[in-house]
Amino acid sequence: MILDSKIPAGPISEKWSKHKFNLKLVNPANKRKFEVIVVGSGLAGASAAASLAELGYKVKCYCFQDSPRRAHSIAAQGGINAAKNYPNDGDSVYRLFYDTIKGGDYRAREANVHRLAEVSVNIIDQCVAQGVPFAREYGGHLDNRSFGGAQVSRTFYSRGMTGQQLLLGAYSALSRQIGLGNVQMFTRTEMLDVVMVDGQARGIITRNLVTGAIEKHAAHAVCLATGGYGNVFYLSTNARGSNVTAAWRAHKKGALFANPCFTQIHPTCIPVSGDHQSKLTLMSESLRNDGRVWVPKAKGDSRRPEDIPEDERDYYLERIYPSFGNLVPRDVASRNAKQMCDDGRGVGASGLAVYLDFSDAIKRLGESVVKQKYGNLFDMYQQITGENPYKTPMRMYPAVHYTMGGLWVDYNLMTTVPGLYALGESNFSDHGANRLGASALMQGLADGYFVIPFTIGDYLASANLKPVKTDHPAFAEAENNVRDRINKLLSIKGKLTVKEIHQKLGKIMWDYCGMARSEEGLKHAKALIQELKSQFWNDVNVLGGGEELNQSLEHAGRLADFLELGELMVDDALHRNESCGGHFRTEYQTEENEAKRDDENFCYVAAWEYTGDNAPENLHKEPLVFENVKLSQRSYK
């Protein structure tokens, strides 16, 4: 298989406009003859479903929550980037492009990232027109703040609830189209397989999560916008239901999975408090605008933070990275926090935390200004820890947050399966080996509002699509496979609970495929995962039946896929003999403990092909070509 990224020729700033012109169009009258399935109602899914319906396509949209408004995007806090340059501080499309490529440690495609930066400005316009209440200055214009990896202020926000407001905007556009009858919405519905007819994606199989009914849905094209797979680590900042099932099912039907080991560990999360912990709570990166990160200079200093004098504190990010200070990118901040803790200078009962201190900001700005900017985050922190961050510094530790890897897509967002697209966090496309803050929201909405509406038309207009209904034998076959798997899960009736196996998987992934990885550890992890997988299939206990609302069954199905994905992540991490961005192999570091890339041998996208159960996956390489940005050792000093 040759991976064709379909990147258009020509200067970077003209590629997207030229490409749009060259794409075939579907005439307005014909659009309503085409049906498109959109799985997912997060920023990517809701914006795609609404925009496609506005164009006249017949859309079916699916989510597993009880309402499209509850997709995981709702939880994003800090903000969304756009190259508006409203503050006049030197931002531009090119700078956003450059920062994103560099932030991703030179493992993303130039053309995709440039397009992202170009359409970023339209996103803000669209959202404001929908009534999204972004923060404003006293003059009534939009306010901006800074995020990690950038020296300009280009992040738009709505208090600490930017994802909520953007999603409610997209949800309102989607609701309008549902009300008009242009989108048929299926809530509490989980996609369990893709249906292929003549080598093209022509539908999906779903389970109604209330009745358990297995249902067949046909269409001319299928878009997955099903989010990221951070929950393979069990504990993450993702919503509890976030999963890889849709993407993994697609992978097994022929869609290559790219860079699965590229995961992002976010530096500022509330530390784990015990075994009962079910999720980790992020404290937005925006806090690093005003909060200062420090640990005691002396090892094992157990004094209260207030009692440690200024000159016995190490503001290590400001010390090591004077030009970016507390606003270094996430991978750098996380790795440094880990190093401080490994060095015995961590704080709190477990020693696995660093301080994020607002006392200077409160002195400088006053408590009420700090409250206005971050009030809901401070409340959340107090709710969870019982400590008041206006009085004592927050304790923070890194946690799994985002997955840069995902389904391989070409410039049109099509996977290696014709007619199957992947949008938002479920694809691999724009963030390389490390995502900059506030750029996932941007990417989700770029894909859904401004890319897929153009690119899908080209496919529909040119791919000779025969009429296919759900009575086609391919649907029956896929449906049977889904049923067999559910029956298998229900029939094992072993001794282990789904949750306990998931927790074990999470621990393996965190210990060996988390913030630091080594050949030895990864090999060990692979053996452990294989053993756990066989325990799962022989000894898991899923109570209840298939034809009812059964949350253990849902969780078991998702875990089964995570177990397989986990192994692929380990293989990917093992094969990539370099460090880049969030992928840190202890064998490959500079003298200053920074990630050491190997551009000669690893400047490519690793795209994995499924070859059968328990068979090793085939590796395909898409070389990354840099025509505009010069590859260099990233420096934030």
């Binding site: 009880d66 499209p68 316009d125 027109a129 929908q130 009534g131 009534g140 009962h276 969870i384």
Partner: protein
Amino acid sequence: MNLTLKVWRQKNNQEYGRLETYKIGDISPDMSFLEMLDVLNEDLTRKSIEPIAFDHDCREGVCGMCSLYINGRAHGPKFGTTTCQLHMRSFKDGDTIVIEPWRARAFPVLRDLVVDRGAFDRIMQKGGFVSVDTGSAPDANIIPIPKPVAEKAMDAAACIGCGACVAACKNASAMLFVSAKVSQLALLPQGQVERQTRVEKMVAQMDKEGFGNCSNTGACSAECPKEISVENIARMNREYFSARLTGTEI
């Protein structure tokens, strides 16, 4: 701590439900309420009793998926908090806790503690939006919006659509939920064009879904995890009457 839980169990929408009693021990005050239920579910599964179904997703108070009527209060004893953010330090050793689903005609129980809140989506589909197609928006800074207005709109927009207002109201009214969206869009310049038809259509759908009337007790706002103000209800009433007076047909 050790607790006695009385939990609503109901197999599905057709069958009758009842409260079942479970004892649970070794609960840490640092656990969230839902983590306590996770522990109980693990326990039940090991005893081959089907675990309790309850809705949840983000577990950080923003998706609006979690619900639960705890000791007669929507989202439990703390103000301004969702169930997922409620911690066991709000309870004490030896407590008995009664856990029920939202109760409202418009929110039928699907299983145990899970209810169907589809009515909220259907109200939004009638008018909870600004009709602007993708691609047709002007520059975002073309219309300045005074900061206090933007802040007020944001206060209303913070609604998470959990349904606590309906559950807390003795009439099961959805006025707070609907008024939050009506207010947000009535305050902003972008919402002006459809201001009148929006409120009429949304109210009509609210009535059709079988939500009760508002008798101004304010329980909705008192129990709202996002502390959405009753001021919004007053604003919606004004919007509604002025729409009726000027009489656009819908």
